[in-house]
Symmetry: C2
Subunit: 447 residues, 2 copies
């Protein structure tokens, strides 16, 4: 034995430890039951909502139950958008012929409601170039953006990034030319008709007009209809920005034995859109974070560095929790060596993406053989997440993001079908296995 | 350009061709619509059932529509098992106290029904070792096998292989000691309560006794109950083996331009269990096979070798279609260079497994960079499938099997929830993309 190179012994130790982690989580993991609690007893929990408060309480109590050395709420100011009563969009006329067909529609997050019914003709455009070409026709109309995904992208996240600009900026781009409302094709390639909400923002230079997303079936039929016909639609939404209110990051800690003042952060976001239960987005990241805490405590792992488990506030429509966490860390002059986020759905884990320097990446990539037996196939460049991004900006902290299989994510993302029933227990737990293993390796070897 | 090594030019050509395949399938693929037809208009299609006949007709017509150079039915004798009216299992007594709790149960495929209600005490055993230790207690009882998956296996297929012996052999192993019936825990780790059927077989040396599978929730509760109590259950099943009947493999061909007498086979099985629609098992393999045909024809690919698209009969409870296909090939002295099967669910593709010699495997593994952009992470040793296995036994034909992500498969496998709604369009199409790409490479370069 004593002739074996040191790294072989270390790798054996590590593979034994990771097998212990995996066996314990797959047999005794609580993430699935915790997710049921979060989604079924609390549900959607947008910043400022009563459910946000319930979720914070639940998160704090759960961290205590799981044996965190310390746990507390970190106050932050959050925006408070409410949808109000039901969004109603309908086709009223086709070529001046009266009709009435309700479309599956949902107001975009942070959008200002029409408050009363608007009726207007539609200008349907393929993209912003198309809008610019036809800007003379926009005034007084409702603009429809056919913001479809490029289905030839193998990674749906790429398509989401490409099309996301229509949801984020489409309203003001159209308001600039006098539009009275906008509609987009939901950012999805689902085969159903649930509309997908998500955050948008106004450019203050132009009027704030209402904005909705249509379900994919209705959107595709609508786009075809608009090609040949003059269409008039009615639109009624009730969205309001109420005054900012108070929310909290929920934080648990395990104290480091060697470097108690050096932090590793792991987290997901506790808030979720109001249309559903926020199961994959980001209930799964929340309960995986809690699962890592549970597993490390049960296995009696004494980390060298302090590990922070953070359920971030307000990722969806403000990222104020993320900003607060980094600002507090800065104010206290904390040292943050690594942060890991899970916010891409609770599907089968396939990799981690990293934002770190080349030396750190080399170090991490050498661990691939240890993670491969648990389904990780790549440790790649680029990754992190919006809740840990500010740590990197503040301190240059190295970041990692769990990369689950992404094919199903946009079927349910921000839509009414993002529910507990669409999460698979083993896929969820396997994500937590790999997250725990990565945290273990980074804590043990540093970065 | 002319200075580039030949293999670089070839790889560029290949990557361009595979991108064309991928774009066409992801944009224009018909697999999802075909799956809807097969599952929703035909449904479960066990060998010998009227739906088997409908599915064969549908398969043949679809191959013609997709432009196969030739298409035909290949007759084979198939077994004809029928479940009969509903399976009923209930707890009747707990420690002599009368009760009545119906359990979610389904007779195992090919099992002989009790025809009338049996009431007997239960002997619950963990495994065959436990049964052997307690063989003196078996006589007159219904044996329950707690055939749970080892959840610490990362690949559920491994757990299925390990536990499958209780479904296949459990009845006769218990009948040997005088059991009057057997029940197993469904071969699944689902969180729901659907019972999972699947094929079993009797050892002719012992009485043929009825056999059922329990849904996981009921099975787990039942196992706990049996630990502390004397339990009596009633069991009523109606399964019957009718006389063998006629089924067909459905075969389409594209004629080879250089080696028309050398065959590449690609297929899935057309039959499926009666409890559901056979969506993932193996509707997805069927429609992926048809998708490969569609894509090659649309892209006007002229293969060097003849390509056969085969929808195999009777995989589930006999594999007579597979045997017939190999026997016919043998009778005609055909040369079969490769066969590919998709029968592990229509989930995100992650690899292919191969049964072939080392030189062939080296050749295939060199193509990994061409497939990786489409989600394939491993081209590994071991794989094929029960429908192409006989070709390997007959001719030593090299085999490949699509390896999709396997975490969800046993949630729906052989159970009432194996329905169209549980198949994701993009995951299904991505499987077909990689199957088409692999067939293209093998046809172009040979093996």
């Amino acid at each position: 034995m004593f002739l074996l190179p040191v790294f072989v012994i270390a790798q054996n130790e590590d593979s034994i430890m990771i097998k212990k982690i995996s066996d314990d989580i797959l047999k005794n993991g609580k993430a699935y039951d915790l997710l049921r609690q979060l989604t079924k007893t609390i549900g959607g929990r947008l910043a400022g909502s009563p459910q946000m408060v319930q979720a914070e309480k639940w998160g704090l109590e759960t961290m205590q139950l799981l044996g965190a050395d310390a746990s507390y709420l970190q106050e932050c100011v959050v925006p408070h958008w409410v949808r109000g009563k039901g969004d109603v969009v309908a086709i009223k006329k086709i070529n001046n012929k009266t009709t009435s067909k309700t479309l599956a529609a949902a107001a975009l997050g942070n959008s200002i409601g029409s408050q009363k019914t608007i009726v207007a003709n539609v200008l349907a455009v393929a993209d912003f170039d198309d809008l610019e070409k036809r800007k003379a026709e926009v005034k007084g109309k409702i603009v429809y953006y056919n913001s479809g995904f490029d289905v030839t992208n193998i990674r749906p996240f790429k398509s989401y990034s490409e099309s996301g600009i229509y949801r984020r900026n489409g309203a003001s781009r159209a308001a600039k030319y006098g539009a009275v409302g906008v509609m987009i094709r939901s950012l999805s390639e689902s085969t159903d008709n649930f509309p997908h909400t998500g955050v948008m923002a106004y450019n203050d230079s132009f009027p704030k007009i209402p904005a909705v997303a249509l379900g994919i079936q209705d959107a595709d039929a609508f786009w075809q209809l608009c090609k040949q016909n003059t269409i008039s639609v009615s639109l009624l939404t009730h969205g309001k920005m109420l005054p900012d209110t108070i929310g909290h990051n929920v934080i648990g800690e395990i104290k480091g034995t060697e470097f108690p003042n050096e932090y590793i952060t792991i987290g997901g976001h506790l808030d979720s859109w109001d249309l559903a239960e926020g199961a994959h987005d980001d209930g799964t990241g929340v309960v995986q974070t809690l699962e890592v805490l549970r597993a490390l405590k049960v296995l009696n792992y004494q980390p060298k560095h302090s590990i922070r488990f953070v359920l971030f506030a307000n990722e969806e429509n403000g990222t104020r929790g993320a900003e607060k966490y980094a600002a507090e860390a800065k104010a206290k002059n904390e040292k943050h060596i690594f942060a890991l986020e899970s916010d891409a759905g609770g599907f089968t884990p396939r990799g981690f993406g990293f934002t770190m320097n080349a030396a750190q990446l080399n170090k991490v990539q050498a661990w691939l053989p240890l993670l491969r037996p648990y389904g990780i196939e790549q440790l790649s460049v680029g990754g992190g997440g919006s809740d840990i991004g500010p740590l990197n900006q503040q301190f240059g902290t190295a970041l990692g993001g769990l990369m689950p299989d992404g094919q199903r994510y946009f079927d349910i993302h921000h839509a009414a079908n993002d529910v507990f029933e669409n999460v698979n227990k083993r896929e969820l737990l396997l994500g937590a296995v790999n997250m725990t293993a990565l945290i273990y390796l980074i804590d043990k070897y540093g970065l």
